[in-house]
Symmetry: C2
Subunit: 425 residues, 2 copies
């Protein structure tokens, strides 16, 4: 950087923010988040200024999991291209230092670098707010073992819960939208801030990792109703009504791995499953409202279960109409996905996406980038998806085209680095 005034400006903001973060962290709060509120639901960004703040990087768990969902996602999956474990470790240390600065709204690296060198920060976030940026790292199965090879001496540390996902009926997975050795989930309220973060991490990782795939997503910026209103997916229906809520024992039990689960280095971590679920928009849009509501099992306008009047009414699969027929089809999406009925809970953090036109078929490439956090995919995502893939009426209107699973290590204390627990196990 050549402008000390500008850096002072940035550092001034960051210092103020850091004081706020430090105070809140002591009290166990997340700055800019909705501690105790709904998870996976839009906060009133823009209306109350919270979208400009910071979320604490350090803590028991990584930020970006139980943090109230920000408005934007940029997800990046990487292949490790170096054969040397030392390179990987070095990059993870550098990534951690960069992530600490990025999430505080600061440029990466040393701004005093000579103008004869490439800038340490690429500059496009200069003058932008931190925008509640969170950066969450995960490790894929292939980091531990690739085609039978223990690439980095980590095979013994692979958690039992980090299984390769089985093939599900109807899967139409594309290799270039699936898998990965490492991932970064960047969430925040400004797409330029997210791009800046992923671009600079990718740049720091040059020679060590190579971007395998990426996915942008958006939530909802401007709900007219309460800040905790359930957002709508691109099928036009409210999505996430029954999601887990932050600050509940149910979330803690369902999301966080413990030392007793088998891998000590994963205690306080979680397992992430991502699925790129394309909506067959053109087919859906030609379907009657009555059929759409039968498929989902809810009233589109209100989100209420069919036969009920309000969104949060319980799903009553036994309810019948005057003719004695079930109000909710037993294969409706809400019936098949019903977490209470299954006794399975996952924390969803999905984002809508649109990637323009699919030139292969001339249709909109749009849908839901589904992200779920859980304690053990073998007991949560996998049985749930097996059930959905077998009988969900919605399957006629969606297609799973991307899939990945990652072990998401616990949060860090100052001085620790991403992957340290794994590498030092």
């Amino acid at each position: 950087m050549t402008d000390p005034g500008s850096d002072e400006h940035r550092d001034g903001i960051s210092r103020r923010r850091l004081l706020a973060v430090a105070g809140a962290a002591a009290g166990g709060l997340v700055v800019g988040g909705l501690a105790g509120g709904a998870v996976g639901v839009a906060s009133a960004s823009g209306d109350d200024g919270s979208s400009t703040g910071t979320v604490a990087f350090h803590g028991e768990h990584q930020a970006g999991i139980a943090t109230a969902a920000q408005d934007r996602l940029l997800f990046a999956s990487y292949d490790v291209v170096t054969p040397r474990r030392a390179d990987l470790e070095k990059m993870l240390r550098e990534w951690t230092a960069a992530a600490e600065r990025l999430t505080a709204g600061q440029p990466v690296g040393d701004p005093a670098t000579s103008a004869a060198l490439p800038p340490t920060d690429t500059g496009e976030a200069e003058g932008l707010h931190p925008a509640r940026l969170t950066l969450t790292v995960g490790f894929g199965p292939t980091l531990f073992e690739l085609e039978g090879t223990d690439r980095f001496g980590l095979a013994a540390q692979r958690p039992d819960a980090l299984v390769d996902l089985p093939a599900f009926p109807g899967d139409a997975l594309e290799a270039d939208r699936s898998g990965g050795d490492l991932c970064i989930q960047a969430c925040g309220d400004d797409p330029q801030v997210l791009f800046h973060a992923v671009r600079n991490l990718t740049r720091i990782g040059r020679g060590v990792v190579r971007l395998r795939w990426s996915q942008e997503g958006f939530g909802r910026t401007s709900s007219t109703t309460a800040s905790q209103a359930t957002p709508r997916n691109l099928l036009g229906f409210k999505d996430g009504t029954d999601n887990l809520r932050a600050g509940t024992a149910e979330l803690d039990d369902s999301v966080w791995a413990t030392a007793d689960d088998g891998s000590a280095w994963m205690a306080g971590g979680s397992y992430m499953v991502t699925r790129r679920i394309r909506n067959l928009i053109e087919v859906w849009d030609r379907t009657s409202l009555a059929e759409q509501e039968r498929v989902i099992g809810r009233v589109r306008a209100t989100g209420a279960p069919l036969g009920s009047s309000s969104e949060r009414d319980p799903i009553d699969l036994a309810a019948k109409d005057a003719a004695g027929l079930p109000l909710i089809d037993p294969d409706a999406h809400v019936a098949v996905a019903n977490q209470d009925a299954l006794g399975i809970h996952i924390l969803r953090r999905g984002y809508n996406f649109t990637d323009g036109l699919d030139p292969r078929v001339g249709q909109l490439d749009a849908g839901l980038f589904f992200i779920a956090y859980q304690r053990d995919p073998r007991a949560q995502f996998i049985p749930m998806q097996q059930r959905l893939a077998a009988s969900d009426l919605l399957n006629e209107y969606i297609k799973h085209v991307g899939s990945a699973v990652f072990a998401v290590p616990p949060g860090l204390q100052p001085g620790q680095w991403w992957g340290q627990g794994l590498m030092e196990s």
Copy 2:
């Protein structure tokens, strides 16, 4: 829609907004815009609540041109697939009616449609603010004449200024990102609102038009400085410092076509050129700061011309350093693109984009979606781009991969429809 309460809520908002719009329109103001302020520069969306409002649809000119730039873009280019002019006219009437409702934050169509039919509105914007949505229509050269055929009896109405752009040195245009018979430029502050608008227009146009290509873009949501701060492009530099400003005679003279220009139906309209300009991110990021600044001709941190101290200092191409060398390279981007030196002015309305990874080369597909409005491309964009293509130092770091030109008709009064002036000429 099946929920009257929900509709009331929406209509209540819309009614309030409409009153505001009606009042402002009478006074010549644009609600949610920055009348008299900078054009092409982010407003303080989110900070002052303006990002939730509406922009008047009717007026002398179409909204979305001199309107202060919203934070997001979704651009859609269409091919007309019907051979019948009557189908095209009918769709343009329907598009206009839908655009009037969408820009007011209302769902399209009649919400009382039977549940036995597909919903008239796809629903995903239910409960969202209007988000300053503008929809701007344009007509491409191929609407008037395609491979020598006067498809719709419009060839005689083709404006002289609507030329096919010549090939420029260095062009690497892709057919599936270029051209189009019709376009919709959707701008607003919420990507879900933009997607909803383009999706519903595309749906209304089924059988008449087919989406040819689309492009998402983003501006800057959360500048820490004044609302009129110049945003940065993905090269990290401020972009748009010298852009035209709303409410100036320079803009009026440079942007709006008049009846004297040759096509009476275009009086009050403008001509739009779009260029998808990819940044060669990985090359740029390995270039020294000094070289980056030499290429652009400005200081990265401040945006000031090299040798000057503040962003809005004039570009002085005669200024020399102590050794007698020019402070600004004569082939620097600011030197070659300098509008004052050329005596040419265009109104730029560019958006940054990132479309993930280009699988063909394994590099980030990101850059600037350049949109320029002008009175006559033959006298403005074309000579300017010829000069840039010949000698701009920046050419080493960018690639033009998409290109299109459209005649953008004037604004409408209530009761008029998009294309009416053309069709009735």
